[in-house]
């Protein structure tokens, strides 16, 4: 049983996404600690990639700020090491295949195990390509998290059957970013997933308001929020952690 399961021990899970190094690693660390203190059940750390094709403008801009600030994969692992001195909630990476491929899959996953990363979310690694990294994930006890999209249809069962950690249900077509409404029939997607796996099922992409978080939590095991948090970092910079804490608390309260 992976450590990720612990995130779902206390009801619906709130998963907070933060881009590492935006604007610097110290702020990231403070933002993570603030989010955890205010109720985040799992932290999704983004390792910036120069050309993030699954991201909308908000996370694209954050990735650019972080890279310009000098963040590297090695510095991200240093950050995780620092966080693991006191942060005990599960943490996963969100990044792109080339970041891992160029670092060396074995070296990358060994560092995940050593620093305390529990899972990987790779938006450009669909089911068909997961063997690229899966053997290395297995060897180091890291869950390779599967994504399911509104267009997955006949693929949902196949993907869910092999899911680990949690299933990431992409709420809408398109890229990450805040949306005023989510119109996908998520309840029926979640139903098919639950027929095929017992791992928890959370919804992400487009969620920003407490009302949306409550709505998503009602049909699944939790919600992932990225762009809305990154937007706070964009607005407040080094002062963001406190505001992120307040925001996380409001979202978490709405999901209870």
């Amino acid at each position: 049983m992976s450590k990720i399961r612990e995130a779902f021990d206390h009801g619906k899970a709130f998963i907070a996404f933060i881009t590492c190094g935006d604007p610097d690693p110290e702020t990231t660390a403070a933002a993570v600690r603030s989010a955890v203190r205010c109720g985040a059940d799992l932290i999704e750390l983004g390792i910036p990639f120069s050309d993030p094709t699954a991201e909308g403008p908000v996370i694209q801009a954050a990735s650019l700020r972080a890279l310009q600030g000098g963040i590297t994969t090695d510095k991200v692992f240093d950050l995780v090491r620092d966080l693991r001195r006191d942060v005990t909630v599960p943490m996963v990476f969100m990044t792109y295949a080339n970041v891992i491929f160029s670092y060396g899959a074995e070296r990358f996953l060994a560092a995940c195990e050593e620093t305390g990363i529990d899972g990987l979310i790779l938006p450009d690694l669909p089911y068909e390509e997961k063997e690229e990294f899966l053997p290395f994930c297995r060897a180091h006890g890291v869950d390779l998290i599967s994504l399911i999209a509104p267009t997955s249809e006949n693929r949902i069962a196949m993907i869910a059957k092999e899911a680990e950690g949690f299933v990431y249900v992409v709420s809408s077509l398109g890229v990450t970013g805040m949306r005023s409404e989510i119109r996908t029939d998520l309840a029926s997607i979640v139903e098919v997933i639950r027929q095929n796996t017992s791992v928890p099922c959370v919804i992400g992409f487009g969620i920003s308001t407490p009302a949306q978080a409550a709505e998503m939590a009602a049909v699944s095991d939790g919600a992932i929020v990225g762009s809305a948090i990154v937007k706070i970092l964009e607005k407040y910079g080094k002062e963001a952690p406190e505001h992120i804490g307040e925001y996380v608390r409001s979202m978490k309260d709405a999901m209870r």
């Binding site: 670092y103 669909p126 267009t151 398109g174």
Partner: protein, 396 residues
Amino acid sequence: MTNPRGRFGIHGGQYIPETLMNAVIELEAAYDHFKDDPAFNRELEELLNEYAGRPSRLYFAKKMTRDLGGARIYLKREDLNHTGAHKINNVLGQALLAKKMGKTRLIAETGAGQHGVATATAAALLDMECVVFMGQEDTVRQALNVYRMRLLGAEVIPVTTGTATLKDAVSEAMREWTSRIADTHYCLGSVMGPHPFPTIVRDFQAVISKEIKEQILEKEGRLPDAVLACVGGGSNAIGSFYHFIGDKNVRLIGCEAAGRGVDTFETAATIATGKPGIFHGMKSYFCQDEYGQIAPVYSISAGLDYPGIGPEHAHLYDTGRAEYVPVTDEEAVQAFEYLSRTEGIIPAIESAHAVAHAMKIAPGMDPEQIIVITVSGRGDKDCAAIARYRGEDIYE
């Protein structure tokens, strides 16, 4: 074992968001059905011949041959195609396929603007909507092509993210496709991206080498000693190479854009300076830093200004079947001027990279040897930029 679908050796694959998986699966199924459908092929052939002006000429460059004093040089005149480049071969194929799939809207990326113009043209002809993504930087370098696309009824969206060039246009087109799949086909312009694109685009461009083979056998009674083409993503090159891959005595030479030189950061020569990676849906060679961040590449040629190369080229390089050589801006500009003056043919600055390498190797070859250079496009679009490069400001 990684996904065997769409692999060229270790390269290729389908490294794309789950949201797009059913779209590429649907595309593959449709292509597998229609590629052997006689009615589809008749329709496509008629478009290629009657509308695009195929077959393109294989022209013996007598003056260039005499001047360089070595191998006999032939030019495969893809610049004479309708819309002025080889891009139309692929676009007519994909647009017709998309139409058969019930799609009503084409989206495309473009660098130099030739693929965008070709897509806008096919969309106009086949009554489809068209949106073209083009790096902001390139809309300035290739202003004439932006106007041509709009004239043809397409919407041109300048891309300001990243380096605002071809790679960013590809990323933005992929993002757009993720948000609207049901009625939209992504008409990818090169032999890159996720499977099945590298195969589909190659098959539609393979008409180039099919014709070269027939034409050279008719004119010379034998195969060429070398075939040269410029390589960005590599569609005109794979088209020029494809039917010669089994003919081991034919050297296949891809000419990459070295920009200001392969020892500078201002280069786009992927094989010379890149390493294996995963980007834009495929495993291949990419210009990148030690952490896998994609490099901001540079070339005077907007069409070759891309940090990767198609996966089949990566495999041809790995196996040693094809050679890839870097050609600098300066060498390409000299070749652009040389071909214009010597043969009265103004090549695209992209194609001039292949001409430049031919100018290096032809003099050292025997007079009975034969070189074929694919002139992938015409150079009208480049005149203002080359004039600027030479310090002359002209108004289009």
